[in-house]
């Protein structure tokens, strides 16, 4: 069958090469439509997420306080006249830019406060008071107002911000539009240098997205060439010929091009998760062509003609390649069942890519092997194989006499790893995902001086007019207080805050009067003073919907959950009896649960994939025993990673959890090969378990080691990422692959030795017939 297929392939090579060229052209054209976008929205915006409609409606009603390009201004005293004049200058310079709908700064922010008998209403510092006393009054008002403190000015008055709100809301803006907005701000700053003693920093949500996207591209520009270089080095060491380098590359790059031709059909941009796809596929896709080429050259070395060598190599490796690709793809496809599109997309694309890599190994590679001239230089990989072989003999000698201690240690690792895996801290962090550097520092400095980027909102809904009721506002005020208890909460603003500050202003500024008045009429009268733009920030025109805006530092989702849980209890306690509904939403309200859910999803994806592969093993070996034996050596590497994560206190985040997908892709292959080899040896008549295992390890060990080295080296490129999570992913992926190799060599062999039924001759199974090809037939050249 394989021989017939290969002959057909070679006979129609010209047509197939034309088809290949056409599909490549089509794929390249399609891949050109790919967008690269580090958009936080991509993580949570998917059709099945009910929270998206809530948060979108919320943002439509009350805006998104994170949608600004922010100029953070630091000085000894930002209320010093030269600093205020500079802020006013920048504000006026930014206002005419059509990119922005509002520019808010200390000089034009609206405030309400008491000044003697008068109630000061309107812009805080526009025009800047001629006398210092006027500035001092405004400073006192700003730094004591819950509406302005932390939001626009730091409590110690050493930092302030100019908030330039984009005309196209950030949530809908493209990276180009956000980049243009940042550029507009930078132009203004360049044209108006800061006075001495004033430090400037451009930050805010658009900078995160723009810089994140830029660094994703930079990452790609590093990952891909470095992964290619690593492959190149490995292929050079193995084959020492242009032929040996070019052919596997041709096969894997074709698969990669096809995959990225298909990618745009999913309608998603390349995001932080999918940015790992090219290097992942390059690494996984290169393994099979390397083995086929090695076997082909071995056969040539053994004296077979080119076509015979090709057929013999494919007869021996066709099914193992299919099987390992199948299980790997299946593992990745299990992620496609996840409800979060970015994870599902990753699962689909890598699963398809791995499948296509198998297709190219079965089509492009034999076409090229059968068409291009055979290399003059002979295959030199055997020396290395012999060296590894000798080490494996010694290794097995050591292991087979210590099976019980090894099992005992395995059990200990299992228990410790199992314990460690239950102690994992799932803690997503939006800021934590950012690469170190200016943008992250800017956000962190903002968090330190003003407010963080984590915006939580409590959407409060009730009957028409209910938000004017004193008891409702007092309940909202108590919710404000509940949130403020948390250290990471930097600012809470609500309708209750506004009404309390108006009451204080109309009562001579007495701090005791910063309370909700008892009279509903008075509340209504205070609220009637607000313009549509001011009021719409706090409450809708029917006074039936309002919100609490909680701005906080991004210290990790586990802390946020604590607050959110307490807020839920407080909402039930304070609002429910009044017939008012409260919902936690806002950017954090939607992104934090989704990010955490995504991590849980990935862990589930790992277990589902794991179970699926064990099931496949059961089917292909027709042995539950083998399937069960494979569980422990393959779960160990993942548990080892959990131990590493626990020891170093790494929280589980999307990027760090991604290593589980590598586990699914990279593990099991060696176990399958060892089991298949053992049964093959038994079928050949060997009865001594030690001899069977030694034979299996010697046959599987070298390619398994090469695979582990190739994959580890390939995944190590992620340690070069700018994104901390991808860096950690690189380390964990290498850990899982290396421990996976040792686990297979040590634990699989010991468990096989202890639990495998060596007395029962191997029944024919798909895996065995392909691992144990019939003697290579002598086939005359078709040419």
């Amino acid at each position: 069958m394989m021989a017939r297929y290969l002959r057909w392939l070679l006979t129609h090579r010209k047509w197939l090469l034309v088809v290949l060229a056409l599909t490549m052209g089509l794929a390249v054209w399609s891949a050109l439509h790919l967008r690269i976008r580090f958009s936080v929205r991509d993580f949570y915006d998917y059709p099945g997420n009910p929270e998206v409609a809530v948060v979108d409606a919320y943002h439509k009603d009350f805006g998104d306080p994170g949608g600004f390009v922010t100029v953070l201004i630091e000085s000894k005293d930002v209320f010093a006249r030269p600093v205020l004049e500079y802020i006013e200058l920048l504000t006026h310079a930014l206002e005419p830019d059509q990119t922005f709908s509002h520019v808010i700064s200390l000089t034009n922010a609206k405030a309400i406060y008491a000044d003697g008998d008068a109630v000061m209403v309107g812009t805080l510092l526009s025009p800047i008071p001629a006398d210092d006393a006027g500035i001092e009054r405004a400073k006192r008002a700003a730094t004591t107002s819950n509406l302005l403190r932390r939001r626009l000015v730091s409590p110690d008055a050493t930092a302030t911000a100019i908030l330039a709100e984009m005309r196209v809301p950030v949530a809908q803006a493209s990276i180009e539009e956000q980049g243009a907005a940042i550029e507009a701000v930078n132009r203004v700053l360049a044209a108006h240098p800061a006075p001495a003693g004033v430090a400037l920093r451009v930050t805010g949500a658009p900078t995160i997205e723009v810089e994140g996207s830029r660094l994703l591209i930079v990452d790609q520009m590093v990952f891909f060439p470095v992964a290619i270089l690593i492959m190149f080095g490995f292929l050079f060491v193995t084959f020492r010929s242009a032929h040996g380098i070019a052919l596997p590359f041709a096969a894997v790059l074709t698969a990669l091009t096809w995959t990225f031709g298909i990618y745009p059909l999913f309608g998603r941009p390349v995001d932080m998760i999918s940015s790992a796809i090219p290097a992942t596929l390059l690494v996984y896709g290169a393994v099979d062509p390397i083995f086929v080429l090695t076997r082909f050259l071995e056969k040539l070395e053994a004296g077979l003609s080119r076509e015979d060598a090709l057929i013999a190599a494919y007869r021996e490796l066709g099914m193992p390649c299919f099987l390992t690709s199948f299980t790997t793809a299946l593992g990745f496809f299990s992620f496609a069942t996840m409800k979060l599109p970015t994870i599902a997309n990753f699962g689909w694309v890598v699963g398809i890519g791995v499948s296509l890599a198998w297709v190219t190994t079965m089509t492009v590679l034999p076409l090229l092997l059968g068409t291009l001239p055979v290399p003059k230089r002979r295959y030199a990989g055997n020396t290395l194989t012999l060296w590894v072989d000798a080490r494996i003999v010694g290794f097995w000698e050591f292991v087979r006499t210590r099976t019980k201690p090894i099992m005992a240690i395995t059990l200990v690792v299992l228990v410790v790893g199992g314990w460690a895996s239950t102690k994992q801290l799932i803690s997503s962090s939006h800021v934590g995902m950012l690469p170190p550097g200016g943008v992250r520092e800017g956000v962190e400095q903002m968090e330190k001086k003003l407010t963080g980027v984590l915006r939580t909102a409590i959407l409060i809904e009730g009957p028409e007019g209910s938000m004017k009721k004193p008891e409702v506002l007092r309940a909202i005020s108590r919710l404000d207080d509940t949130a403020r208890k948390y250290d990471f909460v930097e600012s809470t603003v609500s309708l209750a805050t506004l009404v309390a500050e108006e009451n204080q202003a109309f009562n001579g500024g007495d701090p005791k009067e910063r309370v909700i008045p008892k009279s509903q009429m008075l509340i209504a009268q205070y609220l009637s003073m607000l313009g549509p733009d001011e009021r719409s920030d706090f409450v809708d025109s029917s006074y039936s919907r309002t919100h609490i805006r909680i701005l906080s530092e991004d210290t990790g989702s586990h802390i946020w959950h604590r607050m959110a849980d307490e807020m839920k209890v407080a909402i039930d306690r304070e609002l429910k009896p009044l017939g008012i509904k409260g919902t936690i939403t806002g950017f954090a309200g939607v992104i934090v649960p989704v990010l955490d859910e995504m991590i849980v999803d990935m862990i589930w994806g790992f277990f589902i994939g794991f179970a699926v592969i064990v099931g496949v093993e059961w089917i292909i070996f027709r042995s539950l025993r083998i399937a069960l034996i494979s569980v422990i050596p393959n779960i160990l590497p993942a548990l080892a990673c959990f131990v590493v994560i626990a020891i170093f206190g790494i929280p589980l985040r999307i990027g760090t959890t991604l290593f589980l997908s590598v586990s699914i892709g990279g593990l099991f292959n060696t176990t399958i090969h060892i089991a298949a080899r053992a049964r093959q040896r038994m079928a050949e008549g060997e009865t001594d378990p030690d001899a069977i295992m030694e034979h299996s390890l010697r046959k599987v060990g070298p390619p398994a080691l090469f695979t582990a080295v190739i994959l580890s080296a390939g995944f190590s490129v992620f340690t070069l990422s700018r994104f901390p999570d991808l860096k950690t992913f690189g380390v964990l992926a290498v850990t899982v692959l290396i421990t996976g190799f040792f686990s297979d060599m040590l634990v699989t062999s010991v468990m096989m030795r202890l639990f495998f039924d060596f007395k029962q001759p191997g029944r024919p199974a798909a895996a065995e017939t392909l691992q144990n090809p019939p003697a290579t037939p002598q086939i005359s050249s078709a040419a």
């Binding site: 922005f100 209403v121 003073m529």
Partner: protein, 259 residues
């Protein structure tokens, strides 16, 4: 060239120049608009109904009675007393325009039982939650701004001058530019467009009905649309009477505090 054609061309040019020459200077037009006071803000007694409409089309109604008198033309004093909605009934607002410095403003909230002086730079603030800002009410941007006539255009059957005003004081005004279509026959603005400082259209005030009462033209129905907030305010003068003899003592804090 044909002498008849040259003569016709010369006539056309002369006629065009004459037409342009007939257009008064922008300052003159603005002066006449302010003097005519079609809004009834300086020398009139007005009953008005206001409908505020948000982007969800939900509405809120206000009703007020206002009196005003010119005291140093074009400066005026005015007192507005709200009668609806119920929770705002009795609230009042007293304003005395000043040529230099801030206007003097007092707000009376019945629940507080006394008037409070309202100070600060509130020209960009909305007047009692409507889409009219204090700047729209005090007309200082028109008074003090630099105006030019941009041309003529008909709105409906009425010929209008298009006058563009750039507010002078940076930072004091919420507008970067105001464009006004002023009826040539009675100096009633039929349309005003207010642009923000990025020159993006922020608000449009459209005159929907004008009535001549006692020899004065009043805008009795108008609509201010805030394009950014997708919010609008419809103002209807249900009763309007030109009246410049309202006693001076009506415009006092003591009177404001009387319900």
């Amino acid at each position: 060239m044909n002498p008849i054609f040259i003569a016709a061309l010369s006539l056309a040019l002369v006629a065009g120049s004459a037409a342009r020459a007939a257009a008064p200077a922008a300052s003159e037009i603005i002066g006449k608009v302010l003097d005519a006071d079609p809004w009834g803000l300086a020398g009139a007694e007005v009953d008005a109904r206001v409908i505020k409409r948000d982007k969800r089309n939900s509405t809120e109604e206000l009703a007020f009675h206002a009196i005003s008198r010119k005291y140093a033309p074009p400066l005026a004093k005015s007192l507005v007393r709200f009668s609806a909605p119920a929770d705002l009934a009795g609230s009042g607002f007293l304003q005395t325009q000043k040529d230099k410095g801030d206007d003097e403003r007092y707000l009376y909230l019945p629940e507080l039982k006394r008037a409070r002086r309202i100070a600060g730079s509130l020209r960009a603030n909305a007047f009692m939650g409507t889409d009219f800002s204090f700047a729209d009410m005090d007309r200082r941007d028109l008074r003090d701004g630099a105006s030019t006539v941009k041309g003529e255009e008909k709105i409906g059957k009425y010929a209008c001058w298009i006058v563009e005003t750039t507010p002078l004081k940076k930072g004091d005004s919420e507008y970067g530019r105001i464009v006004m279509w002023v009826r040539e026959d009675n100096f009633v603005p039929l349309r005003m467009q207010m642009f923000d400082k990025a020159q993006v259209l922020l608000k449009t005030l459209t005159t929907e009905e004008v009535r001549r009462v006692g020899g004065t033209w009043f805008i009795t129905r108008s609509k201010m649309v805030n394009h950014r907030e997708q919010h609008q305010t419809e103002l209807t003068l249900t009763k309007v009477q030109p009246k410049n003899d309202v006693p001076e003592d009506q415009f006092t804090v003591r009177n404001l505090e009387k319900q």
